[in-house]
């Protein structure tokens, strides 16, 4: 009997552990439900409390599952917030905003349906619209323990709004992390819900504990099989270039970590074939998740109320663009101190060829200016050797040659570079090491144009232009607006990280866009329950 009880207990503990692990509180909220193309969507994401990732992805797909835009956001206190720019050319219809973690994207995504109306060919011209048929809706509990006080039901355009959010002491202790408060335009005839897209797929990726992970596979171009033992380089060109490398294993996979970058990044992924008969090709993985299974849609009638609201918003957005009223203000990122010297080491000497007489090609430049660098171009087969200072002889092997920080093997790329094309040349006259890489001397050439036009993209050299972690932002509040110019904001207050307190003051100014608005306070309890309180107000 005792044995049975122990076995049963073990089983129960194991099962409950499994259930607890499966419990998810991933959730997504947007500032509004209906948008006009060219606008900016604001989003707030709550992540599971046991989350280990530092990055959450937010993207938008259309009804066919084609991704329109996407961003990666930094997670702080298991919460994240960001924005998505809705392209001006979007056609009117239903779109899905998705939030997910890369390593669990195959199993779980939280999705919110939004409507977008094209400015020139809007929803108002349609009679029906598609509505998602969702099964597992993200539950949010309305709580009376958060009270919104001092809010009038009606405000005149441009008037000041003061609201007090009072939170019950008992509730305050059980709130996990920050609260989120917003006042945005609403439409009672269309309210979207967030729902989960779950899958039993066992496929899982890397947990992005430190930052965004760029991954891919090196394949043999002929056999299409993964290639092992290939060193893949990742370079972010700069005055002091960023550099990473990865040696592939039998699966041909490679990974690069982008933990020190913010905003837009220009990068190069490159590999070299060691055996001439083995042509290689780099296949990069998608940064964002696949569309997965598409939800089912139902047809719904567009109400007259929604039609009018869309028309009003189209005008507001058009004039916002005419008057050049930005919605967001971007903050400077406290940039991490860059390395004091490049990855290839402290340079033995730096040469600026522009300080000397004009030299027509690199042979002349090296001969006249680059001491310790032997560049020869016999029979159109250029070679380069660097002097090994400590050993007092020349290296037999070719040095690491860099053009704007990007490793190159084909010296024909640089042979035509004269002094007018070169900004500076860094030379390391010793045997350098970076991790497990060995460089028999280094010659780093920095071009004047910095347009990478000398490097031709191929299967082995990929030029990437992508957005890393989104730059911090806040809602633009223009205090000194010209009285003749209307204030066309549809979101008049947005603070996704309000420190929990028994009393929170909400202070803002109503815009010139008339209509119904909603003051919402959202939060998450320690047990994962999402709570919210809202109050409606009208701007006339």
């Amino acid at each position: 009997m005792k044995k049975r009880i122990i076995i049963l207990l073990v089983l129960i503990v194991h099962l409950t552990n499994g259930l607890a692990a499966g419990k998810s509180v991933l959730s997504l909220f947007t500032d509004r439900d209906v948008y006009v193309s060219g606008e900016t969507l604001l989003a707030k994401i709550y992540l599971p409390s046991d989350n280990l990732s530092r990055i959450v992805y937010l993207d938008m797909v259309n009804e066919q599952g084609i991704r329109i835009s996407g961003v990666s956001l930094e997670i702080k206190k298991n919460q994240a917030d960001g924005y998505l720019q809705l392209p001006d050319s979007l056609s009117s219809g239903s779109y899905l905003v998705r939030a997910y973690l890369k390593h669990t994207a195959h199993q779980l995504k939280v999705i919110r349906e939004i409507k977008i109306s094209n400015r020139f060919d809007g929803l108002e011209k349609m009679n029906q619209m598609n509505r998602v048929e969702c099964s597992s809706v993200v539950q949010t509990r309305n709580t009376a323990k958060i009270e919104i006080a001092n809010v009038s039901p009606v405000y005149s355009a441009g008037s000041q709004i003061h609201a007090d959010v009072e939170i019950n002491r008992d509730l305050l202790d059980s709130i996990d992390g920050d609260l989120f408060v917003s006042i945005a335009q609403m439409d009672p005839s269309f309210e979207s819900v967030a729902f989960f897209e779950k899958s039993s797929s066992a496929e899982s990726g890397l947990v992005e504990k430190k930052g965004i992970v760029i991954s891919g596979t090196v394949l043999n171009r002929k056999t299409k099989k993964p290639t092992s033992g290939i060193t893949v380089y990742f370079v972010v060109p700069d005055s002091i270039p960023g550099f990473q490398y990865y040696k592939t294993q039998s699966d041909g996979r490679f990974y690069f970590m982008l933990d020190k970058y913010c905003g837009s990044v220009d990068a190069f992924v490159e590999c070299f074939r060691e055996i001439p008969t083995e042509p290689l090709t780099i296949k990069l993985d998608e940064l964002y998740a696949e569309s997965g299974s598409l939800p089912r849609y139902n047809k719904q009638q567009i109400t007259e109320e929604l039609r009018n609201s869309i028309l009003r918003n189209v005008d507001a957005v058009t004039f916002q663009k005419v008057f050049n009223q930005p919605k967001l203000r971007f903050h400077d990122v406290g940039k991490q101190a860059p390395d004091s010297y490049p990855y290839y080491g402290e340079v033995s000497c730096t040469v600026d060829p522009q300080l000397f007489v004009d030299l027509p090609d690199f042979t002349e430049v090296s001969r006249e200016l680059l001491h310790g660098v032997k560049f020869r171009n016999y029979n159109n087969e250029p070679t380069m050797q660097v002097f090994n200072n400590p050993m007092r002889n020349y290296f037999d092997e070719m040095p690491l040659v860099l053009l704007d920080g990007i490793p190159i093997r084909d010296l024909n790329i640089i042979k035509g570079m004269g002094s007018t094309d070169i900004d500076r040349v860094d030379i390391c006259l010793s045997e350098r090491f970076y991790g497990n890489l060995r460089f028999p001397g280094v010659v780093a050439i920095y071009s004047t144009k910095k347009d990478y036009s000398r490097l031709t993209e191929s299967d082995q050299l990929i030029h990437l232009k992508f957005e890393t972690v989104q730059v911090p932002y806040s809602l633009e509040v223009s205090e000194n607006l010209d009285s003749n110019i209307p204030d066309l904001r549809q979101v008049i207050y947005w603070n996704p990280t309000v420190t929990k307190n028994s009393k929170i003051l909400v202070d803002c100014r109503a815009s010139s866009v008339i209509g119904l608005y909603k003051l919402v306070v959202r939060g998450r309890l320690i047990d994962g329950t999402l709570i919210s309180t809202e109050k409606q107000l009208e701007v006339k």
């Binding site: 970590m257 991490q336 990855y343 080491g345 010793s430």
Partner: protein, 238 residues
């Protein structure tokens, strides 16, 4: 019945373990850590004495400038060149780690004593970055620069039978350091310690050391004496 349940549990456990074990492709070891930068170490010239602080390779950790720590590395400190030499097992190379890339390094010696070295800028004679061993870490640090130099000695025959007139000799330099006042050189003796305090404090310090039964005879007792004096709060003169 019991056996059946036990078997069921075993199956569940093994399934859950197999899922967690094979859920990720094994990655290259330490793929996302900061890489050590340096250049090939060239052997020191052969003279009497020893140019390294450590007789053999020690296992320790290094801290990069950004605070990232790389653990379980084989290295030894070259007191002669004031450089950290690390052995890269993957490529079988002895590499001098770039001083500019490190914040410091530490290791535990064969008798279990921890040694912490910090890279600091020295503004005295021979300005530049130096590795100092931290003997006491407080508002005022007690540091030692474990210097080995080549000195002229009476001619002798080396192991190879070559006549030489130089040898590696230790010349450790002890400093009190505070970020505001900088460095002050100190001899690791009682008189050396007392000379760093004003006359009125010297008698009470002597009394304090006597009371604590500390007799400065070597580096360890000197460190102990300084910690005892520092605890009471006597004002050091820089």
């Amino acid at each position: 019945m019991d056996r059946k349940i036990a078997l069921l549990i075993l199956v569940i456990f093994s399934l859950s373990i197999s899922v967690s074990v094979f859920s990720q492709i094994p990655l290259t070891k330490k793929w996302d850590t900061e890489k050590i930068r340096g250049e090939r170490n060239l052997p020191h010239p052969s003279f009497e004495g020893f140019p390294y602080l450590n007789r053999t390779w020690v296992i320790g950790k290094i801290e990069f400038n950004d605070g990232e720590v790389s653990d379980s590395l084989d290295f030894r400190y070259s007191s002669f060149k004031d450089e950290l030499v690390y052995f890269n097992r993957e490529i079988s190379a002895q590499i001098v780690v770039d001083k500019a890339s490190l914040k410091g390094f530490s290791y535990v010696d064969s008798i279990g004593i921890s040694h912490i070295f910090r890279r600091q800028y020295f503004d005295g004679f021979a300005k530049g970055n130096r590795y100092f061993e931290v003997l006491s870490d407080a508002d005022i640090d007690l540091l030692v620069y474990r210097k080995v130099k080549l000195s002229a000695v009476s001619p002798y025959k080396s192991v190879a039978g070559i006549l030489r007139d130089q040898a590696y000799t230790t010349e450790y330099q002890y400093y009190f350091y505070s970020p505001t006042n900088g460095y002050t050189l100190v001899r690791p003796t009682l008189s050396g310690l007392l000379s760093k305090f004003d006359h009125t404090s010297q008698r009470p310090i002597k009394k304090l050391l006597r009371k604590n039964r500390i007799r400065i005879s070597d580096e360890d007792s000197f460190v102990l004496a300084w910690k005892c004096v520092d605890k009471v709060g006597f004002q050091l003169i820089f």
